[in-house]
Amino acid sequence: MEPNEIIHQSTRLRVMAALDILEGDEWLEFTRLRAIVRATDGSLGAHLETLAREGYVAIEKLFVGRKPQTRVRPTGAGRQAFAAHVSYLRALLDVPPQPGKG
């Protein structure tokens, strides 16, 4: 098994972990996601762009009243990629630790 180089990055991993909890028709608002993954506006925005470019998340920008709102949800491909990456991480734990190596 190989790691997913896109999801492997820690902020993107946290983003996918948060979005994977949502059910089919649910979205997570940007500011709430920012609090959950504990990232800054700029950092989260950049990582979401990367994930969207890979087709792992869908981003929607809309107005609620007069306030702009950005919300995010995972795509099917994103869920699959995240599940595969989690399987990879779990498989690493099944390998017996070697003396002198982390």
Binding site: L19, L22, Q69, P97, G102
Partner: protein
Amino acid sequence: MRDQAVASLTDIAAVEQRTQAAVAYSRASACLFLWGPLVAAGSMLNQAFPGQPPWSYLLAPAGHDRIAVFWATLMMMPYVIAGLWLGPIFSICGLAGTGLCFGAFFFAGTWLHVWIGATYGACLVLAGLGLKRLGAS
């Protein structure tokens, strides 16, 4: 590599827990918006018609003062317990509601049902607004 994997999986578990709380807050807020006004209406009816018509039991705690406070606090218990798994805001809402109901018993006098109605109505709707702000959309 192994340590990194452990750290990543721990990170994932923490994020999942925070997200589950946000989703639970959002779903609960919708219930509170509905439940709050219904219980408030039932309490006002109990105050206006102290003969306790049977339908009022469907909406709000009724009956003798102690029984009404007992049911009111009992209905808050699931919120206190749910907070252990779903997020501390549930426990805070449940404890605040319980405290206000006990306050009604000692201080509201003949306005007990109005007090309980205000507690369940206004406070549950306010709690719903708070949970909506914290929750997922």
